[in-house]
Amino acid sequence: MHIQKFEDAMKACRFCFMCRHLSAVGNVTFSESDTPRGRALLLDKVSMNPEFLRSEAVVSTMYQSDLSACCRFHCVSHYDENGLVLAARRDIVEAGAAPENVGKLAAELGKSAAFKVSGKKADTIYFIDRYTARQPEISGAFDKIAKAAKVPYMTITGGCLGKALKTLGFENEAKKAASAFAKALAASGAKVVVVSNPAAYDALKNDCPALGIKLKCKVMHTSEFIAGKLAGLKLRKPAGKASAVYYLESDFLRNYNEVAAPREALTRCGFKLLPFGTNNEESYSAGEGACVLPELNPGLVKLLAEKVASRCDDAKKDTLVTASPYTKHVLTKYAGLKVKTIEEMVSSLL
């Protein structure tokens, strides 16, 4: 079983309570099984009784994890409880025990992986993923910035580049999708691929090499791209109330990759970053790490979004800034919050 590769995490987390306060799902369901300890304990039982893997208890718990990796980020030993859950999902899929809605979604995602490159040949290519495509203001803002920075770019569109499939436990399908993306990318001749969605960033930075897919391109999150171009941009200083914003950490950028560019880009533009909620360490994840949680469990995503809303100083007035189109989408849709992405914030100063 794949979970055996994460035996160290399983054995460490099964009796450890030290990061439960950061368990976004656990904090809204109040269930002990929705904590790193609870999940590891269940999987430890699976390692002793493999037939338990197929139980509703294990399957449903694994598929409602937020996969935020806040626990790994916090843990002094950085045990990979997230990796353990992903391995369990893979085991579940391979055992043919994936829930019907998961199987259906995976089939749709697999079919969607057909990528199209548009625009004139350029060194840079911008990936418009599903969540960015749903919110055209994000790609619009990127376009404005790229033009101001005089960076010609192509676009690549299409469905899942493998990340959502991988998080669902469909490793082979994820590999196929990632290969299709890599092929389209290679054919485009681009040297740099820029993505707005941190999930895509993580897929290209970490999943592709792990799946044996070599990318010839440099991978950048838009915040990194923007931070690199700021010196050449003529930006107004943010003024008045609009200059103070609450930045919400991204699961993928902070907890998986430790990318500091979003904060850097915002502060260098003159925005004052107010502390959101009570503490920077707190997990305000709305399920970004799980990529497709709204499709699987909208009720849970609503709870997560409402939890974030409840931590706002003024949910009606505050502007939240995120580096994740996913987070913008769910916080807007499920909690009615005012959320902007880094691209939008910076382009508003042009």
Partner: protein, 481 residues
């Protein structure tokens, strides 16, 4: 007892509970019942590790208000179903385990911060809030509860109240019982009561103190008002290495007798210094007994106190590790509790914490050490002293077997034997069963030995009067089934 889940009567009771707290807050899912069957007590962990089924609750309820808790209690009384409060499950004594099944009342939805009073400097909160979340809320307002236990991230405020818990700054700021202003409690029969709004009075016996440490056997604590404090301007530490543990203990006691007010003192015996302080801090060249202390408050006063404390230390043959040696402890104070630093299977381990006066504490330590070493030569005994009072201090002793017997029953028997002998040695020398982890399932059998006739004459009668159907956390604290 609850009827089996195949009996429609089970559904009748479940419907009543659903009506009381809402459908989404009555959980019968196997996943959650399973996760609630193991707390931080070694026995259920070992039982799980040996692939044995732990006893599970039949139903888990997550009430969101005292009124909902009250309704649950009334239903439980009608059908005489056990109710076990569960906060974070981080208790090490098995207190939150649903050993007889029944209803597990998870308090985590009682997590509202009701009020931060910046005039009286108090905070009122639901007891199901995770301590770390409460501390962050209070920090945001510019204050601190000063209750900073190693389990701050995983235990609820209610759990600390139920166990009379303690934090790393207890030496100055007190244990949780010193921090409480008042409580709201749902009695086992479902009535909601409040204790007096202030902790100091001459209006009869103190009801607040009666419920503190009651470990869910006398009711569910649903709301608490705690003192809060301004964040100190400075907090400074200094560490020393003593040649012997006895010298270090004398120095620590002198520091407390001087009536200086350190916020923390921690003294590690030679064994723990050698194995754990060294490993966690990455210090290579240390031996002897490590003592660290700190002061907090206005910087000028902190510096003055530190100077006086250093004078006391200089009277001994010590190596001064300076403020760096002290800061290292503060920065790593919780690191001990994360894997792999914490003890883990296949080890068998337990924290034999007790407390005694300065006249008795060395005897307690040596007696416990002797009894463990002599009876269990394969076990290691280590200890540190982490919470200090004007009159004595707390011993946080631990025993560790590198490998427990594979047979779970043998392992449990061995484990219980260590506790019986070590705790009896503590009691015989002026110690008590426990200082801040509570009694729970682990130590209930020793309550009679500790309290003598007062157990039956006072504690048992109190329990019977408040909980006539014995539904509240049966089997814990020596109250039996």
């Amino acid at each position: 007892m609850l009827p089996s889940t195949s009996n429609y009567m089970f559904e009748m009771i479940r419907s009543e509970l659903t009506d009381a707290v809402g459908k989404e807050y009555v959980d019968v899912r196997e996943a959650d019942r399973f996760a609630h069957s193991v707390d931080y007590y070694w026995i259920p962990e070992m039982w799980h590790d040996r692939n044995m089924p732990n006893p599970q609750a039949d139903l888990i309820v997550h009430p969101g208000t005292a009124e909902e808790v009250s309704k649950v209690m009334k239903i439980a009384n009608t059908y005489k179903i056990p109710v076990v409060p569960w906060g974070g499950g981080s208790g090490s004594q098995g207190g939150a385990l649903p050993v007889l099944g029944g209803i597990l009342l998870d308090t985590k939805r009682l997590n509202r911060v009701w009020k931060i009073d910046t005039t009286a400097l108090t905070v009122t909160a639901g007891t199901g809030i995770i301590m770390r979340h409460l501390e962050w809320e209070v920090n945001k307002a510019g204050y601190s509860t000063m209750h900073l236990p190693a389990s701050i991230a995983c235990a609820t405020v209610g759990g600390f109240l139920a166990h009379r818990g303690t934090g790393v700054l207890s030496t100055k700021w007190g244990k949780i019982e010193d921090m409480v202003m008042s409580l709201e409690v749902v009695l086992p029969t479902g009535e909601i009561i409040n204790t007096l709004p202030i902790p100091r009075h001459a209006s009869g016996p103190d009801l607040t103190m009666m419920f503190l440490g009651s470990e869910g056997t006398l009711g569910v604590i649903t709301k608490v008002t705690l003192k809060i404090h301004p964040q100190p301007e400075a907090r400074k530490f200094r560490a020393y290495l003593f040649k012997t543990f006895d010298d270090a203990m004398d120095a620590g006691a002198s520091l407390m007798r001087s009536r200086l007010r350190p916020c923390a003192i921690r003294l590690y015996d030679e064994e723990e210094t050698r194995h754990h302080v060294k490993r966690v801090f990455g210090l290579d060249d240390i031996s002897g007994s490590y003592l660290v202390f700190g002061f907090d408050g206005y910087e000028k006063i902190v510096d003055l106190e530190m100077e006086e404390a250093m004078k006391i230390m200089r009277k001994y043959d010590v190596r001064d590790l300076g403020s760096k040696g002290g800061d290292m402890w503060w920065e790593n104070k919780y690191k001990f509790f994360y894997p792999p630093y914490m003890f883990h299977m296949p080890q068998a381990f337990g924290t034999l914490d007790t407390v005694a006066t300065f006249s008795d504490i060395k005897n307690v330590y040596h007696a416990m050490k002797k009894v463990v070493n002599e009876n269990f030569p394969e076990a290691r005994f280590i200890g540190h002293f982490s919470h200090w009072y004007e009159w004595g201090c707390m011993l946080y002793a631990r025993f560790i077997f590198e490998k427990a017997p594979a047979d779970p029953r043998e392992a449990a028997a061995l484990y219980n034997r260590v506790w019986d002998l070590a705790i009896r040695a503590a009691i015989a020398n002026g110690g008590v069963i426990n200082e801040h982890h509570g009694v729970g399932l682990k130590l209930g059998r020793l309550m009679k030995e500790l309290y003598g006739p007062a157990k039956e004459l006072v504690l048992d009668k109190l329990k019977k009067e408040l909980d006539p159907n014995n539904i509240m956390n049966p089997g814990k604290m020596g109250f039996g089934f």
